[in-house]
């Protein structure tokens, strides 16, 4: 895009959402420090005990933890923390971590839909539409719970074959959490810093801070109080993932700049004629499909001005905001590059020697998105359009 002058270098660089990049970097630092303390192994062993060593129950426990955590943390942060736990569990059981990791990705995107801070598109929408934390949760949490329950039922079927094989081949579980915390002092410090960072996310907006500022403050605080050598921690940061986002933001800026994405959206509204039911439902489904192809953050940033323009022309934009939020968040489950959390988990898995291929993820993602969008359509219709 830059070399062929579709966008100039300064435009490409300005398109990079550094709030996303530095939010990821800060949380990766905190997660990497925590990883070395043994706390993830402790959580993993406790989870296996709760699940009784049964593969399906492990999926269930991990999905519930991921979905709930994704609602209160950014879903990328959640998977950065839960991903290593899952790798540890799978290694302890002697099975492939892929079904567990894929289920977590799907659960994180569903759970992230519930709150304003749960998924980056929500932050963009809340800011543009002036929606506060409580209003967002009041509108999105019910549908997130409905879809999560339906997803867990679907996951039981989708992963049945993989989990049956695991049941036959998994190692005997003889795990004891005693002594797995190798650095208790650092563990206490990093957990305290994580808790402060989460509190920071909750109060960031009213205080005028961006999530990236909070994450970088948390990482800096941890470096200072724990007196850790940054070189070692920074070497373990997923730079591949961060640079992937950098490239993606620039590629998408090219198609935004020449008007392809807004042209698609304009056509949508021409076709529906601005009629509320048709426009809202179309926006939900188009956002759901588009967010699987384009990362849902730049997609959302492109559609927001179109909704604002419609509002200026007198259209009722409330259902459109919720359509966009549901479509963009849920659509992120469509492909392995559909949402930031997907890419982060894929990188973690690849680093551990387990590749989540585009095609493999698609098998689970497409079915989950279809089911989710059907439920979201029903919710949208009953709550906002009747």
């Amino acid at each position: 895009m830059v070399a062929l002058h579709v966008v100039e270098q300064h435009e490409a660089f300005e398109a990079i959402d550094f709030n996303v990049i530095f939010l990821l970097l800060g949380m990766m630092v905190i997660a990497n420090v925590m990883r070395g303390t043994g706390v993830f192994q402790w959580v993993a062993i406790r989870s296996i005990r709760v699940a009784g060593g049964d593969p399906w129950r492990i999926v269930l426990v991990l999905c519930l933890i991921t979905a709930v955590a994704s609602a209160f943390l950014d879903n990328v942060t959640t998977v950065v923390l839960i991903g290593p736990v899952t790798l540890y569990i799978a290694a302890a059981l002697g099975v492939s971590p892929l079904p567990y990791l894929i289920a977590e990705i799907l659960a994180s995107n569903v759970g992230g839909m519930a709150t304003l801070i749960g998924d980056p598109p929500n932050i963009l929408i809340g800011s543009a539409a002036g929606i506060d934390f409580a209003t967002f949760a009041w509108n999105m949490t019910p549908v997130a719970v409905l879809i999560l329950v339906a997803f867990l039922a679907l996951a039981r079927v989708l992963f049945a074959k993989d989990l049956a094989a695991h049941r036959e081949h998994m190692s005997e579980l003889d795990l004891d959490e005693t002594g797995v915390i190798t650095e208790p002092r650092l563990m206490r410090m990093s957990v305290a810093v994580l808790a402060l960072t989460i509190l920071g996310f909750l109060f960031a907006a009213p205080l005028g801070y961006e999530p990236a500022t909070v994450a970088l403050l948390g990482a800096s605080l941890l470096f200072i109080v724990a007196r850790i050598d940054p070189t070692e921690v920074l070497e373990r940061v997923e730079w591949n993932t961060l640079l992937f986002f950098v490239g993606l933001f620039m590629v998408v800026e090219g198609v935004i700049k020449v008007g392809i994405i807004s042209g698609i959206a304009d056509t949508l509204f021409d076709v529906t004629g601005g009629e509320p039911v048709a426009t809202s439902v179309s926006l939900l489904w188009i956002s759901g499909v588009a967010s699987g192809i384009v990362d849902n953050i730049p997609y959302t940033a492109t559609v927001i001005p179109i909704i604002q323009q419609l509002g200026e022309r007198g259209a009722d934009v409330e259902p459109l905001w919720w359509s966009l939020a549901m479509g963009a968040d849920l659509g992120g489950n469509g492909t392995i590059i559909g949402a930031s959390a997907n890419v982060v988990i894929a990188s973690l898995a690849a680093r551990a020697g387990h590749e989540i291929t585009f095609r493999r993820f698609l098998r689970y993602g497409v079915l989950t998105v279809l089911m989710s969008l059907v439920i979201a359509t029903f919710y949208l219709f009953v709550r906002y359009l009747l």
Partner: protein, 44 residues
Amino acid sequence: MEVWLAAAIFLGTYVLIATELVHKTVAALAGGGADGRAARRGAA
């Protein structure tokens, strides 16, 4: 012309990512044009 060029680069990048012919980070960075040529031109 610019529209078709942008569409071609965009689709090409996503095909590379989807087919996994090259690493997805390389595909995204190449698509964005954040290569040595762009950096050198910016520095100049």
